[in-house]
């Protein structure tokens, strides 16, 4: 297990494609959860202007997801925080870490999640203060004393593992930014009246991390598993319009395998057992590429603490649709046992089979 409080990596990975940077960020996050990667900070840049939004923050953008002029709107896996406008003048960062390691360092009144964000943002705020600008850190960003936003974050969580994706506006083209973002944002160079070398701030941030967390960064590239996972996430999620425009992407297993989730009665009925048996037969030869998880009704997420539960199981539970086969987050078969050939085909080629959740819910509502 490489994941401990003293083991920190400064990820060395360069790409000109911001979508790949998002894929790498999610890959290091997932691998940290799996115990394969150390706590990591990854700084990245984009030459093309982009807006980073998350599914709950679309209202802040004065356009539908897609492209506004030359500015591309990209969806992150964040679950809170603020939209971020990034161009060549920004420093973007992703921190993937076990939040438990922060507990000994947190001071003052503890506010779940917010205390962690604020604590980590303090390092970035110190970096900005180092060039002579007075700023204050809040849970979702860093602001000038007058209240103008100068850095933003978007957090995401898997259990105790935090992915904090953020940006600092250093020499950002604010004119461009204001065309698409409804919030007032400023930049370090605008506030202090001169252009700043991003490296100057970066070094200070790194020093703050090492000093306050009492550790030294190891400069390393991604491990092979992270690279493979990042490529998969890039191809199936971040390089697709479906994700950025509709927020739809395959719900893969933690390490990127095809996730076959079976939702069954507790204990399983004869039909549920037949289904489990069939899935086992079908996946027997492809166990490296497929992860099969049996979720028992009413047993909660704790029945598989290290696995990701497809959110659709909550919907199936409320609509009492049992049993069901969920492949990469979509309901492919439910209530009846499918033909074995259909099940095999759906596991090998999930996109060929539609998500039948909508029609199942319609049937259920008609019955009730």
């Amino acid at each position: 297990m490489v994941n401990n409080e003293n083991n920190w990596r400064l990820l060395q990975y360069e790409t000109s494609d911001p979508k790949m940077s998002l894929a790498v960020s999610e890959a290091i996050f997932r691998c940290n959860r799996a115990g394969l990667s150390p706590n990591t900070i990854y700084f990245w840049k984009t030459s093309n202007p982009i807006i980073l939004f998350y599914s709950g923050s679309k209202h802040e953008i004065s356009s539908e997801p897609g492209k506004v002029g030359e500015i591309e709107l990209l969806r992150t896996c964040g679950v809170a925080g603020n939209n971020q406008f990034c161009d060549a003048g920004n420093i973007n960062f992703s921190i993937a870490m076990n939040s438990k390691f922060l507990i000994p360092f947190l001071e003052g009144e503890y506010q779940p999640l917010l205390s962690e964000y604020k604590f980590l943002l303090n390092f970035f705020a110190e970096g900005i203060r180092g060039v002579g600008l007075k700023v204050k850190e809040e849970p979702y960003g860093i602001f000038t004393i007058e209240g103008r936003e100068i850095a933003s974050i978007q957090p995401a969580w898997i259990k105790d593992i935090l992915l904090l994706q953020g940006t600092i506006y250093i020499n950002t083209n604010l004119e461009n930014l204001n065309k698409v973002l409804k919030r007032e944002v400023t930049s370090v160079s605008k506030e202090i009246g001169k252009t700043i070398k991003p490296q100057e701030i970066l070094v200070r941030i790194g020093n703050e991390f090492e000093k306050k967390l009492n550790m030294s960064f190891k400069k390393e590239g991604p491990i092979e598993t992270e690279q493979r996972l990042a490529e998969k996430l890039y191809n199936k999620k971040y390089n697709t319009e479906k994700w950025h425009k509709e927020g739809k992407a395959p719900f893969l297993a933690l390490m990127g395998e095809t996730l076959v989730a079976l939702y069954v009665a507790n204990p399983p009925t004869s039909k549920c057992r037949q289904l489990i048996e069939m899935v086992k037969r079908v996946t027997n030869k492809i166990m490296d590429e497929v992860k099969v998880i049996v979720w028992r009704r009413g047993a909660g997420v704790e029945q598989h603490p290290s696995e990701l539960m497809p959110p659709v199981i909550v919907t199936l539970s409320k609509a009492h649709i049992i049993p069901a086969v969920i492949i990469n987050g979509e309901v492919k078969f439910a209530l009846e046992i499918p033909q074995e050939d259909d099940l095999r085909e759906a596991i090998y080629n999930p996109d060929k089979y539609p998500d039948i959740l909508g029609s199942l819910l319609k049937i259920r509502s008609k019955i009730s």
Binding site: P268, V292, R296
Partner: protein, 254 residues
């Protein structure tokens, strides 16, 4: 419990302690008592609906759940269980129902549980004539008590459930005198107690309050010999409730 454990585990022929399906080995636990389930093939009686069928999994305490009940919806399991139950303690009926995976921690099914548990106990005590019609009437009335009604209307569905049961058994309507007052009195008592407990809402705590106060009320005001055999404390649902009031709730216990 009436139909809780009618199976004598000692008489069952246990085949194995867990089931292996081509390498998927799973251990299952009884949803009623939490003890491990053993594989069997003998005729078993469902602890919910009372149906007898060739069993597959049974626990050492004799709990068995038929295939239909395992996939039932909340409303189905409440109706079927109460139809079959011989239990006279409404709280035990409610707790058995709450253990079923179709019953969510919070939600309007808990209103129906409150009403049906009390009506079932009243029917099984035998002093009142309670049949299918009374159950249907209370279920229809409770359809209007939607999810979150406590916060949005200031009236908890569990209090409405007891009010509706009181109205049905006394024959109250809006023109009645004492009968109407009785329904209002018990509902307001329950609401007062739920309000004193504070929030966020806990549908289990509200159900417990409603049943306990209803039992007291029916005893004292209507002379019905309904009883509760044991306290719900320590609440077994606390660990599943992320918003549990913990020490602020009288049912909480480590």
């Amino acid at each position: 419990m009436g139909n809780d454990n009618q199976n004598d585990f000692k008489k069952t022929e246990v085949l194995s302690e867990s089931i292996t399906i081509d390498g998927f080995e799973e251990e299952y636990f009884c949803i009623i008592c939490g003890k491990p389930l053993l594989v069997t093939s003998v005729e078993s009686i469902c602890s919910y609906c009372g149906k007898s069928e060739k069993g597959d999994y049974i626990c050492v305490d004799g709990h068995y759940i038929c295939e239909e009940c395992r996939v039932a919806s909340g409303e189905e399991i409440i109706r079927k269980t109460c139809e079959a139950s011989q239990e006279k303690d409404p709280l035990q009926i409610a707790i058995l129902l709450m253990k079923h995976p179709a019953i969510l921690m919070h939600g309007p099914e808990n209103h129906l549980i409150t009403a049906y548990s009390i009506l079932t106990a009243l029917r099984n005590i035998g002093n009142l004539s309670i049949g299918k019609r009374e159950f249907e009437r209370v279920a229809n009335r409770l359809k209007r008590a939607s999810q979150g009604i406590c916060g949005s209307w200031g009236v908890c569905g569990c209090a409405i459930a007891v009010g509706a049961v009181t109205s049905i058994i006394t024959g109250a309507n809006y023109l009645s005198d004492r009968e109407r007052s009785l329904a209002l009195e018990i509902s307001s008592k329950i609401l007062g107690e739920i309000a004193r407990l504070g929030g966020p809402r806990c549908c289990k705590a509200s159900t417990f309050i409603a049943i306990k106060l209803a039992v007291e009320f029916f005893n004292h005001k209507l002379g019905i010999p309904i009883f509760i055999s044991k306290d719900p404390r320590p609440c077994i649902f606390s660990k599943f409730n992320i918003e549990c009031l913990k020490r602020r709730c009288p049912n909480y216990g480590e």
